[in-house]
């Protein structure tokens, strides 16, 4: 599974402070730690408190690129912040994210195409969060259709079914998991699928256990990528084991270690 580390986010106190004080050692340490723990890419989010997200994201991109060449997921709901990240990005980029709204798609899909970036599409729109599987599929189809229209390769699109907290929307969990599988049949070649994992345990106790149980199930439904905390070792071990059981890796006694080599 393609792992995007979620920890470089201004909403975390240490990162928010480091952004404000331009303390690059905190950011670089966090980046390297995530990569060492199995992250294939790093999410970059200036956080809600950032007053100059355009320059903050550029600073983050630059200091992270000094220590790793892993892809960077430029995470903002504002297209101009993402565009500003592109101006300094040398690493590969993942746009995080567009919604199914036309005004977003019209800017972000061409932007992804122009920069050869991958694109995360949230199955959400100005009308709100989907309440069931059908609404998710409809929004997903809207995003896929827009990509095809605009000549963006669908295999570089990552559809997110919007994972809701289990203590808020327990009845939707099964729909969310099934959406992961059904997104795949919207087009050929298939779009990829992604979740922002930690949301599933928002406000709950036993967060790590809930996260890894959900991820294990999602892997079984064919999930391609996840934004998560790679420092949660129990989570990473559960993921590796899930993939082993799904015959994605060859077994050996040290299979956990093998995954990290």
């Amino acid at each position: 599974m393609f792992i995007i580390g979620e920890l470089i986010n201004g909403m975390y106190q240490n990162i928010g402070k480091a952004i404000k004080e331009r303390d690059k050692s905190v950011i670089q340490k966090c980046a390297l730690l995530q990569v060492k723990s199995g992250a294939d890419a790093l999410d970059i989010n200036c956080g809600p408190a950032s007053r100059q997200p355009d320059s903050d994201i550029q600073w983050l991109v630059e200091v992270i690129q000094e220590v790793t060449d892993k892809p960077l997921a430029l995470d903002s709901s504002k297209p101009q912040v993402i565009e500003s990240g592109f101006k300094v990005a040398r690493n590969k980029v993942i746009i995080n994210s567009t919604t199914a709204d036309a005004d977003k798609l019209d800017i972000l899909v061409p932007m992804a195409r122009e920069h050869n970036a991958r694109l995360i599409g949230l199955t959400i729109s100005a009308k709100g969060i989907p309440q069931n599987k059908d609404q998710r599929l409809e929004l997903a189809a809207t995003i896929v259709a827009s990509c095809i229209d605009k000549g963006f390769p669908v295999e570089d699109l990552y559809l997110d079914p919007i994972v809701l907290p289990v203590n808020v929307a327990q009845a939707q969990m099964k729909d969310i998991l099934e959406s992961i599988r059904e997104f795949k049949i919207i087009s050929d070649p298939s779009p990829k699928t992604i979740v922002g994992l930690s949301n599933v345990s928002q406000g709950a106790c036993l967060r790590s256990l809930i996260n890894r149980t959900f991820l294990t199930l999602a892997a079984g439904f064919g999930l391609d990528a996840a934004i998560l905390d790679p420092l949660d070792q129990a989570l990473m071990d559960a993921l590796i084991t899930s993939e082993l059981i799904l015959n994605k890796h060859i077994y050996c006694d040290s299979y956990l270690e093998a995954y990290k080599k």
């Binding site: 890796h249 060859i250 077994y251 050996c252 006694d253 040290s254 270690e257 093998a258 080599k261």
Partner: protein, 320 residues
């Protein structure tokens, strides 16, 4: 409409292993042999780079091989009694590019030669011929743990390929290979899980994965060839998909296995309908070898000069 081939794009790559070191590299070989490095399945040139062709090593032994049938013996003659003469014959007469020395005589059942004697032989051999060298133990773990380190030291800097490390006995050899700058053969009993595990165990000793060659253990045609084939294929698909722990090149002892087959060596008087044994063994060794080349074998250790010639022709044709 013209047919379009569906091409696979692989993210992974097989490690490239260099056997032998020239003077400039700290050894004394006139050339090196590079194996592996492919970014595609065998001979699928449109799918990725294939920088090196499969290589064939001539197998030689420190003592006259007891189990070689007449059809093999007659091609080497009295040289079989003298490993140095045999090495020279393989290189000069049969144009061997790489040799595989089996130290069978170190085994307690076959003469119990001392580590010093075997190390001396390795030194002499390296002086006698200038091709890269593969060195194999006798198969007796305890004895090999004395003999192979001595040979590694005698060949220090020549970047030989030395084997075999097995799951229950790899530490001594890995340490010796690491200390003296050689590559290692990691042997598993037709078992992909053990092959992977052994590679991890060896790399945990700081011998990098790019210095390991996997001996997956094979069966000859009619004796489990397809098991070996499918294991190698599975490992190779995983390697090309990005699993570095199985991304080592393969060495296959197709000579040894083919000439164990009854069909290769039985006399015509015994099975008249099988045809002359002067052809059968060559065919058996050739077919076993070309099949495993298609499974991904990068280095074959073979015995019959005619079979080696045929397989080399086959490789050259496919590499064109």
């Amino acid at each position: 409409m013209a047919m379009q081939l569906a091409l696979e794009k692989w993210p992974g790559r097989v490690y490239e292993v260099t056997i032998g070191a020239t003077k400039e590299e700290g050894g004394s070989r006139t050339h090196t042999v590079k194996i592996g490095g492919a970014q595609a399945l065998p001979f699928l040139f449109d799918e990725g780079a294939i920088p090196n062709k499969p290589s064939i090593a001539f197998e030689i032994c420190d003592i006259p091989p007891a189990d070689w049938p007449q059809e093999l013996v007659k091609w080497y003659g009295s040289a079989l009694n003298d490993p140095l003469a045999l090495a020279e014959k393989c290189v000069k007469e049969y144009k061997a590019q790489i040799l595989c020395l089996r130290l069978q005589g170190a085994h307690s059942d076959f003469g119990d030669k001392s580590p010093e004697a075997e190390a001396k032989l390795v030194s002499q051999l390296l002086k006698k011929v200038s091709v890269p060298l593969i060195i194999l133990g006798s198969g007796d773990d305890a004895k090999d743990n004395l003999v192979l380190p001595a040979c590694c030291e005698a060949a220090k800097g020549e970047r030989c390929l030395v084997g075999s490390a097995v799951q229950d006995n790899y530490k001594t050899l890995a340490a010796a290979v690491l200390a003296d700058g050689h590559n290692i053969i990691a042997e598993s009993p037709i078992d992909i899980n053990i092959a992977k595990q052994l590679n991890i165990l060896i790399s945990d000793m700081d011998l990098p994965l790019e210095r390991i060659v996997i001996n997956p253990t094979i069966g000859a045609l009619g004796y489990g060839l397809e098991y070996a084939y499918s294991i190698m294929e599975r490992a190779r698909l995983a390697a090309l998909s990005g699993d570095k722990t199985v991304a080592s090149p393969f060495i296959c002892f197709t000579g040894q296995e083919s000439w164990r087959a009854k069909e290769a060596k039985a006399a015509q008087e015994e099975f008249p309908s099988w045809g002359p044994e002067s052809e059968r063994g060559i065919i058996w060794e050739t077919i076993t070898s070309v099949a495993l080349i298609q499974a991904g074998a990068e280095l074959l250790v073979m015995r019959h000069p005619k079979a080696i010639q045929k397989v080399n022709e086959y490789i050259d044709k496919l590499m064109k």
